[in-house]
Subunit: 696 residues, 2 copies
């Protein structure tokens, strides 16, 4: 059994506990030890509850045990809410009894600079095989077992959303919203410091948990990026996952680090990793909730065509503006649709287009229009865009949802009292209702994205992630970088083009090479001590004759000598100079959390000033390479816009794939830079290669 | 009295009506004629109400009059809800009685292709001096007079937000939200087809209406851009205005056009016009409401430093991510602040930074921290970022707001039952409360923006908008464009640099000019029939000798002749060719709604592919020119980034200002293009000028 499977097994057993001990139970209603006991009881837990407090007595009508050891029998879960210095003792006692896991609510560990205390807990965990949830958490709530082991809130509205969150407050807020709207949750898991069981373990668990139909995550960071990608990809193959990352900006990252000590990760990298693993990203709390709701209730659509019907032109316009922003398609109504619409006896003022404005407050007309749209396969997603009070809104929505093949969402805006009741009824019928057209469209767009990413994942043959084991050191590396000729050898063995070239140890060699490969040529100094050749004037371009090459050779050697008298100079690399043309950058760096990445962008200014780069976690599939090229804003320049070259995209795709394989297989590569890469209609070729070595 | 003042006078009289007639009053509860009467009564209108219907009788206990003429006395307002073909008759009758204005709810005019019916109404309006609100509207609600003249909803919660909206549904939705939250509205005005009184008239009215402290607008477009800018600038000088534009995207614009027949306007132009006039823009309905709320309750801050204090690390991180996105500043806590904080006896687990995480659920600690922050002037804006239930939350928020100089907003998230009550109490005390930290930050950011834009407006010496009269035709223009030498004369008379040059009618002339100005030179064909010189090969670059210039002259002349045998060829322009360098574009076009604009961007690819351009409505102030240059993404390239030139920004500012003056004063210019503009450390110079003529 893998360690992942073992973790799932423990979580399953603990979440389905038949008995729980609460160490640190308190008489004082404002203490967490009281609140948590109260939550477990009010949550309706059906198993045994053992409050533990040395003072004994009774709390909330339950007998209090003086110690864990005094409990009759072995609880399935021990919840620890005692002062930080007493936690280790309690954990040890529980471990000695053979309790499978402890939920440690107490804070004051890593977040207060006490990593030592966490190490102690981990030692006890290993010694006795007792797994740890936390420390520093609000708790967990698992509704299939009515186990609400958290301070507050006591959410008992059972539903499809499973929440995993590094923030207790966000765990609670999402749970409350789900309960207020009558949707409900399957689980709410606060992660805290995750010294043992981590976000990936709980993700593994919820992905196999049938009551959970969608997983909503709030993460400040992840512990092991590759492990996370694997768990995420397995989860999204079964059910949608929506993620809000805290710390997407510098200011946010500073806050997240102080809150959960999460390691900083570039949000572009985090996003790429999530999308490659099939997850959908949200950009704020409300959108995280909206997307979860939509994904819980709407089946994956075939495409991204949306039809919106409203009683309100304003609501339709709001939907359209957001639809375009979210990259949904808004197809015009076909001729057959239009001619059939004319038979429906709609108001003569109705605007018969997509969006369709009924100019009527009758739910019956919505029903007729959407059933017709379904018959004619007019769209993949239907937005019932109620603006103003609509009588019979809930019945019509339900009938539409039941009878059509498209995904259905409702926006109910400006509907007064009619809306307040309709909203609850419609959502209770399993149709997501949003308070504005824009939020509805965001929900629908997330449903499309989830379907697309999931399809991408299966196109890539499931998870293509490197085993995290492969990132361990691959042997001693005694140099920090490769010289260019060494780098070129790597490129050549992976079929990555480089212009004709040759090494020259002497002035005569240089001229000979140049005469052989043809002018103009570029000369580059080669030394295992000189990484930044340009900075010391170690590159000469545009040499067009034997004389120039000879003089250039001498100049480079003398420059190199004067820069560093100890530099071992191996000679000069003579390369054929290609014509001027557009340039790209292809690079790979190693991210501390996600491991090797690949980056693609157009030449300098575009990448640096406009930040126009595409990033993926390595290795990549051909479809990733294609997407990377298409997703940069400068893509039209590769397709001949503004007199640019018509670059052979398939060759660029091949180059990205080759770099991916090269970095994947040559474990000593820590950083690789092909900058620039020459692009023209005739050829694509690296013009410079820099490879930094390092253990990984 | 100006026509604007007359319009305000009529609106004031009508909104404060002491008597209203409702023509089309109905017995049937589902008819608008019934609903509107019901609204007026339920809204609490204290004046006389005269329902009119030929059938007579009684509706809702009110005597019904058979016709407008039968009403005893002259009503201040006639509301018309009769079939479209009867509207003109009723309007005429009301006009004949001397009624100052009619509110025409009936639809079926322009939106159904019946512009003719609108013209008829306008004729009647002019004949009798009766002003028209509508047609095709849901109505208006003016709470100071308890006049709820709309189908629904009956909003009676009086508060600071004045709503002007082209969409009835959005008028209603915003009103409902304001009422549900206990904030209330001063006015809700649905604009409809605006054949007479328009958005600018109502804006003028609300800007002088004391109960209205903030104006929230939803607009699909505006009738007269310059008039609107003037009204907007006068309004924002008195109170904040927030605008959501429907149809910001292509899809949205299509929907808006079909809904309100609004003329398409580039959203970048619309935004520039609003910001130049001091208004804040919202990007969706929820943000429109959130910003209105914040602006109604928070005084303008001195700066954009925000301090957020929470019980929740997650809520703080969410606030930080949004703060950076919204360009708020998050200053670290100063040393004095930190040392004083240590005396406050906060939890040892508290994170003493900005954001500050109290790790406590006591409102008292929020109070202590914010009062300390106020004493030390730690920030301009305070976010009381309640996450989880906080006892005494409302009292603490109120005390903080009363005692501090900074603007205060509350986010209350995940606070359970405590929150539901606290939220209402806090908002009732005049402090804006938002359901998530992100929405609170958006609200605070709008408060900063409003202050900045308003300051910008006053820096520009108030409204600098051209009188719309000045856009009438300025005389006959019999040509469609200027030749380049003519264009250069315009540039020279406004001090806009152009390289040394001279006209040549003969080959010998060309050589003589070239010898005089120095090589290399550029030759350009000059003909009043050839606008696109490059397309016919009419430009030759890089000529370096008398021979080349001579041959070039002949080549251009023969190319021009072969292109068009009838083209009058005036000769060849010989210009000194400047060294290669970065290039910019400065242009001016005439927008159908807002009149002349100015555009600035870097050379071709940046403007065309990356859409990196700054746009303003002309004329501009020096501060606008400075902002335009700084707001493009490529700005670092002008500051020497990546080896770019250190361009003299002040010279570029001067050039933008000169172009502004040129286009403002030379009324025959319809379109002007300086493309490219040469930028280097030594000089900034137009290299090509194209001027299209036209009436305006």
């Amino acid at each position: 059994m893998s360690s992942e499977d073992r973790a799932i097994g423990v979580i399953r057993r603990v979440f389905n506990a038949r008995s729980v001990a609460l160490v640190g139970a308190s008489q004082e209603p404002k203490k967490y030890g009281f609140m948590t006991l109260n939550s477990i009881i009010r949550g309706g837990f059906q198993g045994e509850i053992y409050p533990v407090n040395p003072r004994g007595g009774e709390i909330l009508g339950r007998k209090v045990y003086p110690s864990v050891g005094a409990i009759p029998g072995r609880p399935d879960l021990v919840i620890i809410i005692v002062p930080v210095n007493l936690v280790a003792g309690v954990l040890r006692e529980a471990g000695q009894m053979g309790v499978p896991a402890a939920l440690i609510a107490t804070g004051g560990f890593r977040e207060s600079g006490r990593l030592d205390l966490e190490s102690e807990l981990l030692c006890i965990s290993r010694e006795y095989g007792i797994r740890i949830i936390g420390p520093n958490i609000a708790g967990i709530n698992y509704l299939p077992n009515k186990l609400c082991a958290m301070f507050f809130p006591v959410i008992t509205t059972f539903g499809p959303i499973g929440i995993i969150s590094q923030s207790g407050t966000i765990t609670n807020g999402l749970s409350e919203w789900a309960a207020y709207e009558g949707i409900g949750i399957s689980a709410a898991i606060n992660l805290g410091n995750q010294i043992d069981l981590c976000e990936s373990d709980f993700l593994d668990f919820l992905s196999q948990d049938d009551p959970t139909r969608v997983i909503a995550m709030y993460l400040d960071g992840v512990k092991d990026g590759r492990r996370f990608m694997g768990s995420l990809a397995r989860a999204t193959a079964r059910k949608p996952v929506v993620i809000l990352k805290g710390g997407r900006t510098h200011a946010g990252q500073r806050s997240a680090s102080s809150h959960t000590s999460s390691m900083a990760v570039d949000y572009r990298v985090f996003s790429a990793a999530c999308i490659q693993s099939g997850a959908v990203l949200a950009e704020d709390l409300e959108t995280l909730f909206d997307c979860s709701k939509a994904l819980a209730m709407i089946r994956p659509p075939k495409g991204k065509r949306v039809l919106t019907v409203s009683t309100s032109g304003g609501a339709n316009t709001a939907a359209m503006d957001e639809a375009e922003k979210q990259d949904l398609a808004v197809p015009p109504l076909g001729e057959e649709f239009l001619s059939n619409l004319k038979n429906l006896n709609l108001s003569p003022l109705a605007a018969l287009s997509n969006p369709l404005d009924l100019v009527s407050l009758s739910a019956e007309e919505f029903r007729k229009v959407f059933l017709l749209a379904d018959k004619l396969d007019a769209a993949d997603l239907f937005l019932i865009n109620y603006g103003d009070p609509v009588e019979g809104a809930s019945e019509a929505a339900e009938e539409i949802r039941d009878k059509v093949g498209a995904g259905v969402a409702v926006s109910y805006f400006a509907g007064g009292e009619e809306e307040k009741q309709g909203r609850i009824k419609i959502q209770a019928a399993g149709i997501p209702v949003f308070p504005t057209p824009e939020r509805a469209i965001r929900g629908l767009a997330s449903v499309c994205r989830a379907a697309t990413y999931r399809e991408g994942l299966s196109k890539r043959g499931g998870v293509i992630t490197m085993d995290s084991q492969r990132f361990s050191p691959s042997g001693n590396v005694d140099r920090t970088f490769l010289t260019e000729p060494e780098g070129i050898q790597y490129l050549e063995s992976y079929g990555i083009p480089y212009p004709p070239h040759g090494m020259a140890a002497t002035r005569a060699d240089a001229v000979e090479v140049a005469e052989k490969i043809g002018y103009p040529v570029v000369l580059k100094i080669v030394s295992p001590e000189i990484l930044h050749k340009t900075e010391i004037g170690g590159v000469l371009k545009g040499l067009t004759s034997a004389q120039e090459v000879g003089a250039g050779f001498d100049l480079l050697i003398s420059r190199a000598r004067s820069t560093s008298s100890r530099a071992r100079i191996q000679g000069v690399l003579v390369c054929r100079q290609l014509e001027e043309g557009p340039e790209a950058i292809i690079g790979s760096v190693e991210d501390a959390v996600f491991g090797p990445l690949i980056m693609f962008g157009l030449g300098g200014i575009f990448a640096e000033i406009f930040n126009d780069v595409a990033i993926r976690v390595l290795p990549i599939h051909q479809s990733d390479a294609e997407e990377m090229i298409q997703e940069i804003k400068g893509y039209p320049l590769l397709r001949g816009a503004r007199g640019g070259a018509q670059v052979k995209i398939e060759n660029l795709v091949q180059m990205l794939m080759s770099v991916s394989r090269l970095v994947e297989e040559k474990r000593e590569i820590k950083e690789l830079d092909l900058n620039p890469v020459h692009l023209s209609e005739r050829c694509i070729s690296a013009l410079d290669v820099r490879i930094i070595l390092g253990r990984r």
